[in-house]
């Protein structure tokens, strides 16, 4: 099992199992016991059949925005904490 792959949860079965979407209606059963707060609609990072993190895209800066800042020589790092 290699790289982690980001997948979207389309159904929670129980606290340990969920169904993730593979595209075109295909699904993969994954174990979500390591990410108990995962909800339907969340994207999770899946490695070896387990979700290891819920992917957080809140307050994320966009690649295109970065390009602009690089061009204008105005790179802000949007540091937090």
């Amino acid at each position: 099992m290699c790289l982690g792959v980001p997948l979207k949860i389309i159904k929670i079965i129980d606290q340990n199992n969920a169904v993730a979407e593979l595209g075109y209606g295909n699904t993969l059963n994954i174990n979500i016991s390591l990410t108990p707060e995962a909800k339907e609609g969340d994207y999770v990072m899946v490695h070896a059949g387990f979700s290891i993190s819920i992917l957080n895209t809140q307050d994320a800066i966009d690649l295109l925005q970065v390009i602009q800042e690089l061009k204008n020589d105005n790179m802000k790092f949007h540091q937090t904490n």
Binding site: V5, L22, G23, Y24, N26, T27, L28
Partner: protein
């Protein structure tokens, strides 16, 4: 009790005779086979193509076909890509004892259907049965003969700088689908093998375009391996672009999960074509008329004739080597 193939079926005796006369002839009958001689006897003239293949795929039944239809299409494809009209096929079965007879019937039916569809005849065959655990359900060995019309024979055409590389459609489906099957992953009807007879579009293509320099089906090892074979045979440098390679979404997802690049995944209904640049657009328009090649795409070109190399231009614009398949990534898939 379910009827099974037993060791005695392979010994050449009564059970074997019944199997042949009742079952094989029922599904595969044609004048040459019906004679049931030790060899098929026929007359043929012209330039002949002759190929052989073995099929050891597991699982033997899958979406889009089974080991039987695969053996017919696969053999016919090997003939079609060198410009031959496939005519006759031989089929040898090596059956592991215990195979349910109904599975054999299913396979025979599938072979019959495929053969009729592409107008080839199974003219001779053989059956052996091996002990339990000395085989794997069923292995099929084939050979095939076809006739090449001169105008379809591309073998002496020179490959030049700027010649384009075309793939006849979305790549990597068969290999990745079989991997998913073997891992027991549920898939819907979109996910299946791309198995098909490429002669349907390759032969008309060869009839209409003198600028076709090379055709090969991209089976084990995938498109990347075929590109390397071309590079080494003709001593050319090939460059393809990652962005241009046509790949279905489910194939991309499966490749990320399994860690297998679609460029190395087997295809059973796709070919790689090297063609004259001036005819490229017309070739693409022509291929759009056929079901198996509607999504034919130019993915790259020949950039020099100095040394054998294949390069990939990545999606971020960098360039790297694309090697052929090394080692044994995939389990038995064809």
């Amino acid at each position: 009790m379910e009827k099974l193939i037993l060791l005695s079926y392979g010994s050449g005796g009564e059970l074997m005779r019944e199997l042949i006369e009742k079952d094989y002839l029922k599904y595969l009958s044609n004048p040459i086979l019906d004679e049931l001689l030790d060899s098929a006897v026929f007359e043929l003239s012209g330039k002949l193509a002759f190929t052989t293949d073995s099929y050891v795929i597991t699982p033997i039944f899958f979406k889009g076909g089974d080991i039987g239809s695969l053996s017919v299409y696969g053999t016919a494809n090997d003939l079609a890509v060198v410009g031959a009209q496939p005519l006759f096929i031989s089929l040898s079965f090596i059956i592991e004892e215990g195979l349910p007879i109904k599975d054999l019937h299913k396979i025979l039916e599938s072979i019959s259907k495929a053969a009729k569809e592409i107008n080839v005849n199974v003219v001779t065959g053989d059956t052996k049965v091996v002990e339990k655990n000395k085989g794997d359900k069923i292995f099929i060995n084939t050979s095939g003969i076809g006739v090449i019309k001169s105008n379809r024979d591309w073998r002496n055409r020179e490959i030049n700088i700027d010649d384009v590389i075309i793939v006849s459609g979305d790549i990597g489906e068969h290999g990745l689908y079989i991997m998913l099957e073997r891992l027991g992953m549920k898939t819907d009807e979109i996910v299946k093998s791309d198995m098909g007879y490429v002669g349907d579009f390759v032969l008309p293509l060869l009839d209409n375009f003198k600028g076709i320099k090379f055709v090969r089906d991209a089976t084990r090892g995938g498109v990347a391996t075929v590109l390397n074979e071309i590079a080494h045979k003709y001593n050319v440098e090939i460059e393809i672009e990652e962005d241009l390679v046509p790949t279905k979404d489910w194939v991309l997802q499966a490749s990320e999960i399994l860690g297998i690049d679609p460029l190395y995944s087997a295809n059973e209904g796709k070919v790689v074509i090297v063609a004259d640049k001036s005819q490229a657009q017309d070739i693409l328009n022509f291929l759009k008329n056929f079901e198996l090649s509607y999504n034919a795409t130019i993915i790259g070109k020949i950039i020099s004739t100095q040394k054998p190399r294949v390069y990939l231009l990545t999606k971020i614009g960098t360039k790297r080597i694309l090697e052929s398949l090394k080692g044994d990534i995939l389990p038995r898939i064809c």
